[in-house]
Amino acid sequence: MLEVSQLSVGYGEFQVLFDISFKVKKGSTAVIVGPNGAGKTTLLKTISGLLPIISGSIFLDGIPIQEKKPHQIVEMGIAQVPEGGRIFPYLSVEENLKMGSFPKRAREKFKDRLKWVYELFPVLSERKKQLAGSLSGGERQMLAIGRCLMSEPKLILLDEPSMGLAPLIVTHIFKLIQDINTQGYTILMVEQNVKKALQLADNAFLLESGRIKIKGSKEEFFANEYIKKAYIGL
């Protein structure tokens, strides 16, 4: 479904990603783990078209998308839950969800999908008239995920959904992400919470200082000595 091939990206002169290649299969959950500053956010922003690339290509269902604008990429079916959620604080919860259904294909199904998102996240339904800025951290992350689902995406990019959340809420959110994947959505998630993230993963990638160091299945990652020592702490 998604194929990234020999991708290099930087900010001006300062190169951040080097020769990144990986694939995400339809219906699977792929997880990219790596320390602070490894380039995880940079990678997701690049896939969404927010950053220009130095070289390489990105394909969605075989169609190259690296030259496309962010809004075109969303229209093609890639939705992102950005780092920290980035909900619109001065819009109500429901207006935030409506923003998610901005792509043409999603608008006519707004009502149905809204109902579904409220079933997934009942707390959002209780707070629908409230300004999104007044939500708690966990509720914001749920709103950001719900908003992304509103666009009826083929592929969901998640940038550190566990960031800044209490362990109990992280468990809850990861459970929801797993449910969403079971419903047929393809997921590419970036995480620092390696242990929890790997539990959801079909495939995983380790990104360190802008390079993919290890690729493998969940089982291979859990068995890998380096991963265990440096990231899981066993």
């Binding site: 969303v74 229209e75 950005p82 980035r86 001065y90 819009l91 923003m99 792509p103 666009s151």
Partner: protein, 288 residues
């Protein structure tokens, strides 16, 4: 005496509707594009001149001239966006300000060359009507009603359509809006066109009230800025409220003293509010 003060308050409220209309476009441009449109009053001035030419020189009926004026100022908004605002969107704030200040000079001198320094107005003396012992100027009443209708339509656009929603969202997070599938360029064009259209509408309702001259714009730009800053930059509701405050204060103070002192009192209130609440009445302190 009490009756007269109530009368002044009524006139102030009517004036507030006109002020609200004047300020809303400026507020929208700031909220969405972070644009400080210094030449906003000059846009209104150009609108008034266009209206004047169409009615007086071309002999068109007022309604037809009004529609054409609104369309032309809308197009003018887009042209200014393409030529000046868009290229400077990521430039330092000062460059934008200087470019728009340059536009003031262009507009004022162009008007001077074309129409000279004379005060020009469209002759349509609307009556002052007496309602239950109060005297109400029809021109203000019409502007007030027109202002409320325009604001109502703008509200429907901003709150009931996808484009309007994304225009409100873009003022909060540009990149975030792109991730929702919005093409920000479209929003910027629409906002600049809307800003232009609003100045055209202001010109239409100002025409029966004011005569236009080449330096007409600056006092209204200042007034609009005071209203917008008092309400909280970019906050549409705040701008609306402060427009009525300014309208009533100047009207009542002008009745009790003179219109010059009224302006001073309005300024003092403005400065007072700024000292206590620098972010404006409804403004929110920038967290970033």
């Amino acid at each position: 005496m009490l009756n007269l003060i109530i009368n002044a308050i009524i006139n102030g409220i009517l004036l507030g509707g006109v002020y609200a209309l004047l300020a809303i476009g400026l507020n929208l441009l700031f909220g969405v594009l972070k644009l400080i449109h210094l030449a906003y009053g000059q846009f209104v001035m150009i609108g008034l001149y266009i209206l004047y030419v169409l009615v007086v020189n071309a002999g068109l009926p007022f309604w037809a001239a009004a529609i054409i004026t609104i369309i032309v100022t809308g197009i003018l908004g887009i042209i200014v966006h393409i030529l000046i605002v868009q290229p400077l969107l990521d430039a330092p704030r000062l460059n934008q300000l200087l470019a728009l200040a340059g536009l003031i000079i262009v507009f004022e001198n162009l008007s001077m060359v074309i129409w000279g320094a004379d005060y020009r107005n469209i002759q349509m003396s609307l009556p002052v009507v007496a309602v239950g012992g109060f005297y109400i100027r029809m021109s203000y009443l019409i502007a007030f009603i027109g202002g409320l209708i325009t604001l109502g339509l703008l509200y429907l656009f901003l709150y009931k359509t996808y484009l309007g929603l994304s225009i409100r969202a873009i003022s909060q997070d540009l990149e975030g809006v792109e991730l929702m599938g919005v093409n920000p360029k479209v929003n910027f064009y629409v906002t600049m066109a809307a800003g232009g259209i609003l100045t055209g509408i202001v010109a239409v309702f100002f025409a029966p009230i004011y005569a236009v001259h080449p330096h007409f714009g600056s006092s209204f730009t200042i007034l609009a800025f005071i209203i917008v800053v008092l309400g909280g930059m970019g906050n549409l509701l705040g701008g609306f409220i402060s427009a009525f405050i300014m309208g009533v204060v100047t009207s009542v103070a002008a009745f009790l003293t003179t219109s010059e002192i009224a302006d001073i009192i309005a300024m003092l209130i403005f400065i007072g509010v700024m000292l206590v609440r620098p972010q404006g009445i409804m403004g929110i302190r920038e967290a970033r």
